[in-house]
């Protein structure tokens, strides 16, 4: 018998990164099935294409990132050493990104563009930063923004983000007031069930919520970011509605359910790798995403408002996590700061939409 050398603790919890990824995949399943039901082969092809690119990209880059010990000379041996470093997470993690990516593009986007975005996401945004756990930006979001900006003409956009978001500053007020009319074309129930045009996965709020509940129940995602995103977004929209003398409930519900917000809030901002690591930090992160989405929708003209907001907020994560102020306790300072930030941003919305005139 030999004595093993270990240090305390000697026991580990029954959990794993793999299980977390698989949980996300399970949560995505209803949305995927619905996308395939709605868009048929168009959806299947785009899902498979992104999956192949993401997984291959991850596997190949991880493979060559591993440097076998210099003593290992032979090619075959080197291959073996490298092969051994691959784990199931080199499949599950990129698969999650791939599916999310495929679900936030329109179903008729040309395959060539899909591939370019996927390659950008996995190679530039993930692998170049050091692979699993080291990327600063959400690969799916970055891929989506990249093609959004490079191939603008390819997006024959019929989604609601186009209606909601693609409005020049001056017209924001009209667009908001127009929402009750829009609601006559699409009822709230339609929005909820997904009987609306839009990106593949973004359209059925109900299925996204089901997926979200599963994720939170399994603790595979942190509800704090999602909640903070939705709360701050709703506050902004409510203030916007007041500013233009619109119907607050109609506008907020419509804005919440339409477009990519819900999908992003459940499946994208919760990506732990690109989130801060403290509870207050996660609330701040959600606040950033929620209010940036609101600002883009109200004042900007990018249909990919949510992904853009996530990328912008990603930039702030290292700042939020800076060791000099990151704390895991909710302090009075944090609560006051959160409320004040919310109020300030709300005030800007109010002024911007002419609510004070």
């Amino acid at each position: 018998m030999n004595y093993a050398k270990q240090t305390a603790p000697y026991v580990r919890k029954e959990n794993s990164t793999k299980r977390m990824m698989v949980d996300v995949l399970i949560a995505l399943l209803p949305v995927v099935v619905f996308a395939i039901y709605q868009f048929g082969w168009d959806a299947v092809v785009r899902l498979v294409l992104s999956a192949v690119i993401f997984i291959l990209g991850e596997v190949v880059t991880t493979f060559y990132r591993t440097k076998p010990h210099p003593s290992v000379k032979e090619r075959k041996e080197k291959f073996k050493v490298r092969f051994k470093t691959l784990t199931i997470n080199n499949i599950t993690a990129p698969l999650v990104s791939a599916i999310i990516y495929a679900l936030i593009i329109p179903s008729n986007l040309s395959l060539y563009v899909v591939a370019v975005g996927a390659l950008f996401g996995i190679l530039v945004v993930k692998a170049a930063f050091g692979g699993l756990g080291s990327n600063i930006f959400n690969p799916a979001a970055a891929g989506r923004v990249f093609i959004g900006l490079s191939f603008t003409s390819q997006f024959a956009y019929t989604g609601i983000d186009a209606v909601v978001g693609a409005t020049p500053l001056g017209a924001a007020k009209d667009a908001l007031l127009n929402i009750p009319n829009l609601l006559q074309n699409y009822t709230v129930l339609d929005l909820f069930l997904g009987n609306i045009p839009g990106s593949m996965g973004e359209i059925s709020a109900l299925l996204i919520i089901i997926g979200g509940i599963y994720l939170f129940a399994r603790r595979a995602a942190d509800f704090r970011v999602t909640l903070s995103t939705l709360v701050s977004f709703s506050v902004m929209m409510a203030i916007a509605a007041i500013a233009v003398n619109g119907n607050v409930v109609d506008i907020v519900v419509y804005q919440l359910l339409a477009g990519g917000l819900l999908f992003g809030a459940v499946f994208m901002v919760t990506d732990p790798v690109t989130s801060p690591v403290t509870k207050p930090g996660r609330w701040i992160y959600g606040l950033l995403v929620g209010s940036i989405v609101a600002f883009i929708r109200l004042f900007g003209s990018y249909p990919e408002g949510v992904v853009f907001a996530i990328l912008l907020a990603n930039i702030f994560v290292p700042l939020i996590d800076y060791y000099k102020w990151s704390k895991n306790r909710y302090s009075v300072k944090f609560i006051v700061g959160y409320v004040v930030a919310l109020a300030l941003l709300g005030f800007i919305v109010l002024v911007g939409l002419g609510g004070l005139n």
């Binding site: 030999n2 270990q6 299980r19 996590d321």
Partner: protein
């Protein structure tokens, strides 16, 4: 998963129901003359001398205190040998050959109630000092030093929580000796001039509450409360026990005595009873042998000084497979890894765990923050790990790595199986340099 981990599967249910075997048959007993706190020591007996139970046979010298060593059996002194101490060190041990007659030393006569009533604080300190009592919760810190505090103590907390998985020695002690523990608590209260005593036990053990509550009724002159506290880990950590038992929040790094609180483990209080009432040192303790690397798991009550190998043998030895064994003295969260099973039961040995070694494969950190959520001291293990990788001393200091109590929760909870606790230890060593 992304959540605060507070519960650890503890396997106590099975162990609780197993009977305790009294083992008095050890042929030779070993008494370390040095240990981690006491680098020097000597014996005051000679080879071949006959000693009795409770007789002083030597002294360990620490930096600012001495610890007497007592024999726990009667028999002949037969020399020295090197054995393994619970800290993992190999130390010199005085050997006593057991004649199994258990003759009591003449000095061990009970004190009468009148004698006890007349004792002053100084007397108590001397009595405890002479009995060699030390923190039996695991710290091994000499108890009399704690008594010498200049601060005014209002409340004494008896810690019966024992939150580490696998361990049930305090549990068994409370069940069998509740009355004496409470009596010990009253002595501790008298020694410190404390008005109040609180005994903390886990909520999930109503049977402990029952026996303590019954015992409490024999000491109605004292304000003693039995408090049922949470079941989670690390509820037995001094600061959490104090918080749960009295509501007093002692900041990490401060002495509880500055806040008028003093904590003793229930086994230590039992030691108070023995020393004050019986004029006897602690001679026995409960030891659990457990883990999947051992044939049958058993509980023992043994004399201090018993070699653990005897007990392993009685458990049927190790399971026979080609796996390496992880031998742990203490609990699975904070215990010490031993490189030999040649261990001696000292006062602070509560259990020996033998596990089959399973390789733990780590994955990259995915920033899930479970470690941050779970840390009882509110540290950010993942950030400390990153700062340590950068060898950033300033960041490590600001992140308070020194406050880490090495509870093991961060490693336990990490879904990527990163050994954060070990990194905390390395980081602590690094900034001390």
């Amino acid at each position: 998963m992304i959540e605060k981990t507070r519960h650890i599967p503890d396997g106590k249910k099975e162990r609780k129901n197993q009977p305790v075997s009294h083992y008095l048959e050890a042929e030779y007993l070993y008494f370390p003359t040095t240990d981690l706190r006491c680098p020097a020591g000597e014996s005051c007996v000679i080879d071949g001398q006959y000693v009795k139970v409770g007789e002083l046979i030597g002294t360990r010298h620490g930096g600012f205190f001495d610890q007497p060593i007592h024999s726990t059996v009667s028999g002949y002194v037969v020399g020295f040998e090197k054995k393994v101490h619970s800290s993992g060190q190999t130390v010199d041990c005085l050997i006593v050959k057991n004649d199994k007659k258990y003759v009591l030393h003449e000095s061990c006569v009970s004190r009468t109630d009148e004698e006890i009533a007349a004792l002053t604080k100084e007397d108590y300190i001397q009595i405890i000092k002479d009995s060699g009592l030390s923190g039996l919760g695991g710290s091994g810190f000499p108890t009399y030093v704690k008594l010498e505090t200049k601060n005014k103590i209002d409340v004494i907390v008896a810690n019966g929580v024992e939150c580490e998985p696998h361990l049930i020695s305090d549990y068994k002690l409370i069940l069998e000796r509740a009355h004496r523990i409470i009596e010990g608590l009253t002595y501790a209260m008298r020694a410190q001039g404390a008005k109040r005593g609180v005994v903390a036990v886990k909520k999930k053990y109503p049977e402990l509450y029952e026996v303590l509550e019954n015992a409490r009724h024999s000491f109605m002159d004292f304000d003693i409360e039995i408090k049922r506290v949470g079941n989670h880990y690390p509820q037995g950590w001094e600061i959490e026990t104090i918080k749960a038992a009295t509501g007093i929040q002692v900041p990490v790094g401060k002495m509880p005595s500055e806040y008028g609180v003093c904590v003793f483990n229930v086994a230590t209080l039992y030691g108070f009873y023995r020393a004050v009432k019986r004029r006897m040192p602690i001679t026995e303790r409960f030891v659990t042998i457990s883990g999947n690397g051992i044939k049958t798991e058993r509980n023992f009550s043994v004399r201090i000084g018993t070699p653990v190998r005897d007990l392993i043998e009685m458990c049927g030895g190790y399971t026979e497979n080609d796996k390496n064994k992880v031998v742990i003295c203490g609990g699975p969260m904070m215990g010490t890894n031993l490189q030999s099973d040649d261990l001696i039961v000292t006062k602070t040995v509560t259990s020996l765990i033998v596990l089959d070694e399973e390789p733990i494969k780590t994955e990259p950190c995915i920033h899930c923050a479970s470690c941050v959520y779970s840390c009882p001291v509110d540290l950010q293990p993942v950030q400390i790990m990153n700062a340590y990788k950068e060898r950033d001393k300033d960041a490590l200091a600001v992140l308070n790595v020194n406050k880490c109590i090495e509870c093991g929760l961060c490693s336990f909870t990490c879904p990527s199986k990163i050994h954060l606790t070990e990194t905390m230890r390395q980081a602590k060593r690094f900034i001390r340099k």
